[in-house]
Amino acid sequence: MRLLSLRPGRGANLLLPAIPFILLILAYTIGSAVRHAGNPDDKLLPGLDALVAAVQRVAFSPDKRTGEYLLWSDTLASLTRLCAGLAIATVTSCVIGLTVGLLPYLRVLLTPFIAVLSMIPPLAILPILFIMFGLGEASKIVLIVIGIAPFMTRDLALRVSELPAEQLIKAQTLGATTWQILTRVVAPQMMPRLIDSVRLSLGAAWLYLIAAEAIASESGLGFRIFLMRRYLAMDVILPYVAWITFLAFLFDFILRRLQGGLYPWFAGARAK
């Protein structure tokens, strides 16, 4: 049989995916053991016991100073920023992307500008952003927005312009105004695509969130990781990284579910 046509059975389907994770954990455990053999105080690859203790400390016991459970208050702070950033970026890119994609005048006016915007590395203009938007939550949210909105806008405008011309003509022959075409024909078809676009941007959003929190902040997952980096406290950093990874997964999952649930027509239409 060709390798190509060999399909794993039911057991293999459950077992195989676990293997790389098991290997990773094994490699970590060995690496940690080796380092601790050389230096019992090694902080870079803490043993599993140290990790568990750290998780216990940050997630399940109140911080002595503030009485808060660090992991949860950090998570709350970060997620608030992330969601605000995503929401603003989504709304902005929705409004601009839809109109730019649909209206020829706007398309000509803004397409090159948005293309240039989306190429500017936001990290490089951080000081200006901070001056313009202050240092509170606003600037962190703005960094996320600036980081992902131009890409999302471009993507959406492109998808609007990819709508079959037949649809727009048909709508006009049904008597639709530009506004009605926008709200009843174009926008509803773009919603599931917008979700795709948000999913694609999630990684970048996390990145900018972490970068923003690293610079000016008093709480948040990124803040904590940066604070701990100075002390090489990997026992805290690693669980935080795992937690962020899990949250990223969760977001992706929720968005996919949302797409399927809210737009049942989309899977069929996309398949074509």
Binding site: N39, D41, L44, D63, K64, R65, L126, P127, F130, I131, G134, L135, E213, A214, I215, A216, S217, E218, F223, F226, L227, M228, R229, R230, Y231, L232, A233
Partner: protein
Amino acid sequence: APKKEFKLAWSIYVGWMPWQWADETGIVKKWADKYGIKIDVVQFNDYVESINQYTAGAFDALTVTNMDTVAVPGVGGVDSTAVIIGDFSNGNDAVILKDKTSLKDVKGQKINLVQFSVSHYLLARALDSIGLKERDVTVVNTSDADMAAAFATPEVTAVTTWNPIVSEILKRKDAHNVFNSSQIPGEIMDLAIANTKTLEDNPDFGKALAGIWYETMGIMSANTPAGEAAREAMGKASGTDLAGFESQLKTTRMFFTPGDATAFAKSAALPKTTKLVNEFLFEHGLLGDNAKSAEVIGVKFPDGSVFGDPNKIGLRFVTTYMDSAAAAAKN
């Protein structure tokens, strides 16, 4: 023009942790209320960004070193006044070598440090002390947040950095502290500065800052349960614990009383240090590209004398506010 709301930017460093503690325990509010103003204490995780924000005018006051005051706001046309001299580094900054025990071994090495920071200055002074020049070594710009991890890599053999990273790195057996700021006492000062113009218009702001600071100093320096609790809280907030924080305090020459600080401000060491710092900045092109000498920026001392250009003052050392705090304490 008089205003009512002020913003202070601070970043995580042993000598600046009291600001947050004072804010959390209500000391800031108490003093602000006393003068009928509002003071917003904002934490920066990134020291550089806090200086930039102050320079750009987004903040009225800042915790910063003397050197960076001249190099950034000073060169950027912002005239600042040192409201408080909080401490000077007395071992907090160090040159650390891996497996080598003598500063002389630094020759020819790559040294990881935050370029153009006090670490760079410390290194220059260290090299100076053994007759080497900066061209005898290679500096590699490295973020302070990653210095501890950097030192753990095989190819990094020398770093210059500050606390808490210094104590973190010195926990390693192969790390050796070959030169530190206790060998150049008083040259790296940690200040709370404020925009001179803002201060002139609102002297109450300066008085409030000084009041906050010395009330806090009184509590944290005390060998009482309250003092220990304060120190533990500050340690926690900076990511370490009581022991870690106290070991950092040991290498910091804190001026717990206004008198200590004013005495230092009036000492003859200050103009000497200023000259060294400005020359360092000039040699590294940090005084602007049109700078002809180390004296393009002026630094004014409590006695009214000025180093450098008196028409372009970047930093003023005064004792006004610390004196008023001392006076208030006596009443």
